[in-house]
Structure formats: C-alpha cells, structure tokens
C-alpha cells in the first residue's frame, strides 16, 4: 500500500503524519509523526474511509429566503462530494420547510439523507 501524508485535525498541533499499511498485516497501519495516541484512530479512519459532512444550499420557492441551507445527516465518503453537489444543485422545492426535513432521501444510493438545517415558513 502507498504511503499517505496527512495532518491530524484533533488539536491545534496539527501533527503531520505518514501513514502506511503494514506489508505483513493487511489492515494494520503504521503511523509516524504523531505526538499523541488519539491521533491514531483519526489516521485509521482518514486512511481507510475518509468522510466529510457536506453542507450547501438548495433552491426554494414560496419561502422568505431564496435558498435553504442543507447538510448530509451523516458524513459522506469524501470521494462522493462533487457528485453529491450535482444532486443538491438540481433540487428545487417549495416552502414551508421545517428544520430536519429530508430534502434528498438516500443520497447517491447511500443511506445518507440531505436534510434542511433551518426552518423557512
């Protein structure tokens, strides 16, 4: 497996880590450059399945604002961000909307929903 450079985001120190998969133990990682233990879990997640909560807006009509803020209700695999934006950009809906309302169910075939992050009524 390839070596990956990453910065730990858990504290202001921002350790620069080098992460490699152990050649003899698949799934086990070697993490260098860390100054604490907590970072290892982050490195593991970031190496195997980096995810991000995506926030954006969608077009809304008949509401006191022209755009409704939304987010994914769970972190999304990082690689899907731009595809997800394409879906979000196509949404057009009518008010009223309540905070938490599901705007896109099962985004890109995942179990992740896009939900409203404010009420517009």
């Amino acid at each position: 497996m390839e070596k990956q450079e990453m910065i730990c985001i858990l504290c202001p120190l921002g350790c620069k880590m080098q992460v490699t998969e152990k050649p003899d133990q698949p799934g086990e990682l070697t993490v260098r450059g860390l100054q604490c233990k907590k970072g290892k879990q982050y490195a593991y997640e970031e190496y195997t399945n980096p995810t991000r909560t995506l926030t954006s807006t969608v077009v809304i009509h008949n509401a006191p604002r022209p755009r409704l803020p939304v987010k994914t209700n769970k972190p999304l695999p990082k690689g899907l961000v731009f595809q997800a934006m394409e879906k979000i950009n196509k949404v057009e809906l009518d008010g009223p909307v309540h905070i938490g309302d599901v705007i896109i169910k099962g985004l890109l075939g995942t179990d992740i929903d896009v939900v409203a992050t404010r009420s517009l009524e």
Binding site: M6, I7, C8, I9, C11, P12, L13, G14, Q35, C36, R52, T53, T55, S56, T57, V58, V59, I60, H61, N62, A63, P64, R65, P66, R67, P69, K71, K78, V81, M85, N89, E92, I99, T117, R118, S119, L120, E121
Partner: protein
C-alpha cells in the same frame, strides 16, 4: 438642436450647467461615466481654499476669490454641507515665516478677507497637538470644507430641475463642425449644438483636439489620501497645511464635512489618465509628511485610502477661453486646485463669456430651487424624524449601520433628478459604504434596494461603470426570486417574528442589544434567573445573527454535545426564546445608549423612541477588518469583498461573487469561504497568508484547503490590486519576518475576486456612547466575572467583548452576562462582593477576559478566556495570584488562533486578599 452642450459632469460641468440653466437655453450635459462627479470631483481634498495661494492676476486668483465668496450661500441654497473652519499654513522656521509673509501679501492682492499671521502662542491655542517647533501660521478664517460630490450632484440636479438634459454613459467619440455649430457623436446618441463647453477634466485636451489643433496638454498629477474613522476627527480643528514648496501645497490634515479626518495628498506626475491606484510609496510619503505637522496621527484608524488625478497644464493657470479656430467652442481646462473653491466663480465667468460670444442671454422668468431637502435623517430633530417615519416608514429602517443611513434616504437618492443607479452612486449621495465597515454589512441590502427601485436584476447592479459588475451569477444556476428577498426587508415572513413586540413600552427590566448567539443566550439565562420583562432589539430582519449565514458544520460540540451547522445552532436558541415568550423587536436599530441606561432606537413601526432599562446586555457582535483598514494599495474596482459579505451573498442571497478567487488571510471564514466557492463552481487560485502558519483551525485547513487542493501561500502578501472596473489581478510578494514584502519576489496572479479574511473587530460604537471603558487589546469592554462593564448595570458578552473562535464559548459567556444582569436587577449586587482582584496578561498573553473579579461572586470556579501571542509548543501556562504560583498547565501547543480557557477553582486561590491574578507562557522545562 441644443444651444449649448457641456461635456463633462464633474463639479465644473455641473456648476456651468446650473448657471446656464438660469437662462432660456436648450442645454445638454454629457458625461462619459455612469454618474456625475465621477472623476477628479470624486477624489480630492474637499477643501474650499480661501484664495491667498494663486499668483495675483491669474484666473485662478480671480476665480478662487470669487468662488470662495459665494460658496457658502450656494451650499445653503443647495443644501450641501459647508463648514467654514478656517485654514492654517504652519511654519516651523524663520524661513517658512518669510514664505507665510509672502502668502499673506499675495492674499491681500487677491482680495482675500480676514487673513492674519499668528504667532506661536495663538497657534498652539487655536490648534492643539501640533508638533512643538511650530512657530507661527497664516490663518485664513474663510477657508472651509465641503462635500464635492454632493455639491456636483446638487448642481446637476438643480440644472435638471430647470430643464437641462443629461446624458450619462456617453463618451464623446467625435465632434464635427457644422453650419450651425457642432455635431457631437456619443456612443449612444448624435447631438447637434450651437456651442460647446469643454469641461472634460483630464480629457479636456482630447476633446479640444477633436475640433482644434492642440493648444494645451493635460498632465495628470496623482494625489493619494487616507480617510480616517470619525473617532479621529478631533485630530484637526482647522485645515492644516505645511508651508508650500515648489512641489505644491503639501500634505494637509483636515476634518471632512462628514466628520472624518482626511490626510493627504502627495503629488506625482503620471502618464495615464486612469491611474487612480494607490501605491505603497505614495501612502507612506503621505504618512511621513503628515507626521511633520502632527506626530502620532492614529493611522490604525484608517478606514480607506484612495487617490485622485488633478488636471494640470503647463501654464499652471486655468484655461478658460474660446478656441481660436472654433468660434463657439469654449475650453474650460486645467482646473486643478483650487478648482473646487473656484467652481461657482468659473460658472459665472463662463456664462459671461458665452454672453459675449452669443449675445445677451435671456433669463428665465422663474428659476426653480431644488424642491426637496437632502437633509440626512440623522440630522433631523426628534419631531421631524418621527414625522418623516410616519409619512414613509422606510425612514425608520437603518440600512447602513455605521453612518446610520435609512432606506428612505437611499430610495430618495435613487429617485432624485439625477438619481443614483449604482452602489457608488448611492454612496456618493447618502454615504452607505462610506463608513468604517466600508459596505461590508449594508452592501447586499443597498444592492437589493437599487434592484427593486430600478426594477433590474441584482446581477445587473453595478458598483460604478458598466464593467464593474459585483455578482457574477446565481448559485445553482437558478434565478433568485426577488420576492423571497423581500427587497430590503419589507414583507418579511411574520411567522419568524413570533413574540415580536409591537407596542411601545417605556421601560423594561432588561434590554438585550443584538439577537445573535450572544444576545439570545443572555436573554435565555436572564429568564431562567427570574427576569420576566425582557426585550431583545435586533437590527436584522431575523434572529440568529451571523450564524444564519454560517451554513457549515462544526458548531455546538461543547454546548449541545453534537455537531450542528450555524442555522441549526441559531434555531435551537430561537426555539427557546419562543418557548419562553421573550419579546424581540426585529429590523430595529439602536442609535445610542446613555450611561443611565436609556436606549434610543429607530424602527419602521416605532419611529424614533427612547426607552429605559434597569439593566442592559450589549451583544452587538463584531465586524470584519476591511481592505481599506489594512491599507493594501492598488485600484478600487468591484470584486473586493470581505469574506463574510461574500458568505452572505452566496449562502443567504444565492449569488456567486466571482469566478477566479483569491482569499487574503487564512482566518476560519476565509478558509470556509474558499471551500464554499469551489463547491459552487468557482476556482480558488490561492489563499494568501502573511504569517508562516495558517491562522484558522487545523480542521478547517485540512477540510477546506487540503481536501480541494487549494494552494496556500504562507509568508506572502498582496502588494497591488489591479483592474479599473472589476478586479483583473493582483501582485503578491513573499514577506519577511516583519510581514513586509521582500523586494524581488513580486509576481502577478490573475483573478476577478479577492476575499479579505483579515480578522474581526468588536463593534463598540454603542458602548462608547454609554461611556463604557474598553480594553485596548480586545477593543471590547472591560468586564468583571459577571460580564458587567465599567458602567453600572450595563453588561456585555460575545464577540462585542472579544472575538471568539467557537460559538459554544459565546453562549457560555453570555449565560454569565444574562445571569449577572438578572442578579443586578434583583439587586443582589448590593450583597458582599468580597475582595476585588484584576487579571493581568503576562508574558506572551495578549488579553484575559474577565478583567476584574469580585472574589465572593466568582462561585466555585472562575473561567478565564485568553489568547496568546505567537505560536508556542511544549509550553506551560503559569497562573499566579500576586507572586504566588497557584497553577501550572502544560500545553502541547498554543496558537493565537485558538482561544485558551483556564478554569480556576475557588479553593485554588489564596484565602487572603490579593490584587492581581496573572497568566503567562513559560517553557515546559522551566
């Protein structure tokens, strides 16, 4: 067929148009730009010179004297500000005293009244704070200050009221002689006229040469200026000049007609007639020379810098004459200083010249004065204010919070005879965007009003000339429904106004100023501590403050133990306010607070109202540091935004602010906006940071910058901004240890947009009105452990006190303020306070909040919030009570970007009284 075509609608063209509109003539005023007063008139010292300076016998001498004699009455007639504050030319040595003597003699010859040479003692009494060696001055009491663009606009409007035509956006392409006179080809029209008056300013030579052989050349001379915050106007009581030299009148210091301080100009001969950029060298020259008059001018209070071009000619005198080869073609050229003071004199002179050429002109039987008063809302008295709000509620809605400009005034400026059509047009007429936030808050709302009043799309609203677009499109590629925006606030959803107070009540127990996260939390806490009678006053149309535009996640981890977005965090508090039935007034602007807790506010429904509070919580938040305040040289085109303004446009209003973006400053808002712009389809060329490290949270660096492969240029700065109408590019350079650009490392980047993310400043103008004492490092109020300020019963919390990086800490701090205010109202304040100690920022700590603690009130634990200076690894925070170390806290890393919280238990403190609790940064091994 016109009788007279006047080319150029600066102050000279406008003054001539107005003078000629008194006669029965068909007149047209032709302007190449989108607005009148857009060239030299827009950017000069705004001084009405007394007239001692010009060489006796010249046109300058004659017309300056005449102009300055009639200036005041003209200003009164046109309702334009004019303050005859007098000028002082200051001498620092005997040789300069001789120059003053010469000027004095010249002034007598020019027939300038009331001139006086004053000695050292009188000078230092009249004008305090001058550098000590100043030994005397030439005092000219008739000199004054005015607003040149208001003057030009009023002149043009008065002319239009009296029947002249005005053609904007009409650059003259060619002029041909015809049998009856001339034919002028503009880009948009063909104009036939008998006579031409060439008042084209910098371009007067080009216009002249369209019909005549060259007879003069206009050589632009650039002058750069600083404009300082209104707080600094006390730095000059008069117009202060150094002794003139061969180079000109020198760098002056003067108050402006609107209460700011202006400092400048330098004088630099320059080839281009469009070169209105500021330069590092020019501004530094201005600063150094101003220092020679008064040391220590508060240049950290600069709100903007700008430059203007003067139209100089070789002869040095005004050229006002009929072209020899073209009867009926009058040149009015080379009108540099004292052009403004001379304008009224020039207009009369030209009218007489025209009579000599065309024969006697017939005066109109009735000359119409300007019909409506332009008096700013804030200058009306209380009765007039209430009257005008009653007639038109839009005068009760403050759009520009720095200059207190109402929607009514903006609408009036658009509806005027020469109405504003652009953002700069509004700024010239009524000043929103001319204040300390430089349009950061009001820009979007001003644009909405323009779009609504002119019935155009928001994306069609320009900063100035046609190329100066502000928005490059909409998000999601879908149109924005203007009805949803409710223009500048009308028709806003009533449901969001739940609990909105509609009655005017004269007094409240607690008034909270600001309905953002701080204000909402303070109100909730006060209610939970038994206060029933609470009012929140919010200037925006909804609660939540800046959180509503922070649509990203990362809020609430501490307070709600879950990760929320900004609007979600806000809505949780809004729901609590609803549930607790706490009253609020939205769309309501507090104008001032008195020491004894009287609050004066204005709104569309209540007009101007004063209420009494038993306690007040200040929760006004902060504003962004602007490009002007950090003095980045270059031009001033559209496409320069503070990051927060861009965030509002993108996330709330649904507009894209640009396609090729550079972010300057690596604060969190900048990083977050870099990602937002990429996700909305823009290209982010770079994030530029002067320091060797990113200022924002590590998480934001990784998830906003690294994730999207955005280059971050550390130890770089912007040294120049280019582009006339819209940003076209910047020049960047590496910085040295002092964050100064390094020669030889300059390179150009192409971009159409710059977002400034260079820090936040607590907004304490209201606190100052209540005489609340401020901390110089935070720019926020000094507070005690209950968040009470130096003024009895006035509390403060959130970003108005110090800028937080997490809203969770804002809420926590605001609960303290709300509780403190509740206890004050319930008069627990009179109970024993124990002994009082101050907190003291020690080595490498820039500030600590609170500043003062009453030992008996701190409860079980005292929370201290602070920021460090510089970055420290493997450090220890040492807490001392007096000389005694009571606590040492190891920290792997400390950075200015992350606020530090220290909890001190009551039991950690010495039992005996002590005076100071200090915190300092030490090395771990010590």
């Amino acid at each position: 067929m016109y009788d007279v075509a006047i080319i150029g609608a600066g102050i000279i063209g406008a003054a001539i148009a107005r003078e000629l509109s008194k006669y029965n003539l068909r007149l047209v005023l032709i302007e190449k730009d989108s607005d009148v007063a857009n060239g030299t008139t827009k950017a000069n010292s705004a001084i009405v010179h007394a007239g001692f300076d010009p060489e006796p016998g010249t046109l300058k001498a004659k017309l300056n004297a005449e102009g300055s004699r009639i200036f005041e009455s003209l200003c009164r007639e046109l309702d334009v500000p004019f303050k005859q504050i007098g000028s002082l030319v200051i001498a620092f040595c005997e040789e300069e005293m001789l120059t003053l003597r010469e000027l004095y003699e010249r002034g007598l010859e020019n027939d300038i009244p009331e001139l006086e040479i004053i000695g050292r003692e009188k000078l230092h009494t009249m004008e305090t704070g001058l550098n000590e060696p100043a030994i005397g001055a030439l005092y000219a009491p008739t000199a004054g200050i005015t607003d040149p663009y208001l003057m030009a606009i009023a002149l043009a409007e008065s002319a239009v009221e009296n029947g002249i035509d005005i053609k904007l956006d009409s650059p003259v392409r060619t002029i041909k002689k015809t049998v009856n006179g001339f034919q002028i080809s503009c880009s948009v029209a063909e104009i036939e006229t008998k006579y031409i008056i060439n008042a084209a300013g910098l371009y007067a030579d080009q216009i002249n040469e369209m019909v005549n052989p060259p007879s003069f050349t206009i050589k632009p001379s650039r002058g750069e200026y600083f404009l300082l915050d209104k707080e600094t106007s006390c730095w000059a009581r008069h117009v202060l000049f150094p002794c003139p030299t061969a180079l000109g009148k020198g760098v002056l210091i003067a108050p402006t007609a609107h209460g700011n301080l202006i400092v400048g100009p330098n004088a630099e001969a320059i080839a281009s007639k469009e070169a209105t950029a500021t330069t590092a060298a020019g501004l530094s020259y201005v600063q150094t020379n101003a220092d020679k008059l008064k040391k220590g001018l508060p240049f950290h209070k600069v709100i903007t810098s700008f430059s203007g071009l003067r139209a100089k000619t070789e002869s040095g005198d005004f050229i006002i004459e009929e072209a020899k080869q073209s009867p009926g073609f009058i040149n009015v050229a080379g009108i540099d200083s004292p052009g403004l003071a001379s304008a009224p004199g020039i207009a009369v002179y030209v009218a007489n010249m025209l009579q000599n050429i065309a024969g006697p002109l017939e005066k109109k039987s009735a000359f119409r004065p300007l019909p409506k008063s332009h008096t700013p809302f804030m200058q009306l008295d209380q009765k007039e204010k209430n009257q005008i709000v009653k007639e038109d509620p839009r005068f009760g809605r403050v759009i520009c919070r720095c200059e207190h400009i109402t929607e009514g005034e903006i609408v009036r400026a658009i509806a005027g005879p020469v109405g504003a059509r652009t953002v700069d047009g509004i700024k010239k007429r009524t000043r929103p965007g001319g204040g300390r936030c430089q349009g950061g808050f009001c820009g979007p709302r001003v644009m909405q009003i323009i779009a609504r009043e002119l019935n155009i799309d928001m994306t069609a609203v320009k900063k100035d000339n046609p190329g100066s677009y502000i928005l490059s499109g909409t998000t999601k590629g879908r149109k924005v429904d203007q009805r949803a925006v409710g223009a500048a606030g009308t028709g806003y959803s009533e449901k969001r106004k739940l609990n909105s107070e509609t009655m005017i009540k004269e007094s409240y127990d607690l008034v909270v100023i600001g309905g953002g996260p701080a204000g909402m939390a303070a109100a909730v806490a006060a209610r939970e501590n038994g206060i029933e009678d609470i009012l929140i006053i919010e200037r925006d149309r909804e609660l939540g403050g800046i959180l509503q535009q922070c649509i990203h996640n990362g809020f609430g981890l501490h307070h709600f133990k879950e990760e929320l977005t900004g609007p979600e965090y806000a809505e949780r508090f809004i729901d609590q306010l609803k549930e607790k039935e706490i009253c609020c007034k939205l769309d309501t602007m507090v104008l001032s607070i008195s020491k004894d807790r009287q609050i004066t506010y204005v709104s569309t429904s209540d007009g101007l109202t004063t209420i009494q509070a038993k306690a007040i919580v200040l929760a006004m938040g902060c504003r962004e540091r602007t490009r002007g305040a950090i003095n980045i040289p270059g031009t001033r085109p559209a496409g320069i935004f503070s990051a927060g303004t861009a965030q509002r446009f993108v996330n709330i209003e649904g507009y894209i602010v640009g396609r090729k973006v550079v972010v300057f400053g690596s604060g969190d808002i900048g990083l977050i906006m870099a990602r937002r712009m990429v996700l909305e389809g823009a290209e982010v060329i770079a994030v530029i940071e002067r320091k060797p490290y990113s200022e924002g949270l590590v998480r934001n660096y990784v998830q906003c910058i690294e994730d999207y492969g955005i280059p971050m240029l550390l130890e770089h700065t912007i040294v120049d901004i280019r582009g006339k109408d819209r940003v076209e590019g910047i020049t960047i350079a590496r910085t040295d240890q002092n964050k100064q650009p390094i020669e030889g490392t300059y390179r150009d980047l192409e971009c159409d947009t710059i977002l400034f993310s260079r820090g936040l400043i607590p907004e304490n103008e209201l606190s100052k009105s209540a005489e609340v004492a401020l901390d110089r490092s935070t720019n926020g109020p000094l507070v005690n452990e209950a968040m009470e300020t130096s003024v009895d019963g006035i509390f403060a919390c959130g970003n108005v006190v110090h800028v937080h990086d997490l809203v969770d800490w804002v809420s926590e701090e605001s609960f303290k303020a709300g509780k403190g205010a509740a206890e004050y109202i319930k008069q627990h304040a009179e109970e024993d306070a124990g002994f009082i100690f101050k907190t003291k920022p020690g080595n490498q700590i820039s500030y600590i909040v609170p500043h003062k603690v009453r030992s008996a009130r701190m409860g079980d634990t005292l929370e201290l919030f602070m920021r460090v200076r510089g970055q420290h690894e493997k450090a220890v925070l040492v807490v001392k009570a007096g000389d005694r170390v009571i606590k040492s806290i190891k920290k792997n890393v400390l950075t200015p970007g992350e606020m530090v919280e220290i909890k001190i238990k009551f039991t950690d403190l010495p039992t005996e009284a002590f005076k100071e609790l200090s915190v300092e940064v030490a090395k771990e091994d010590q």
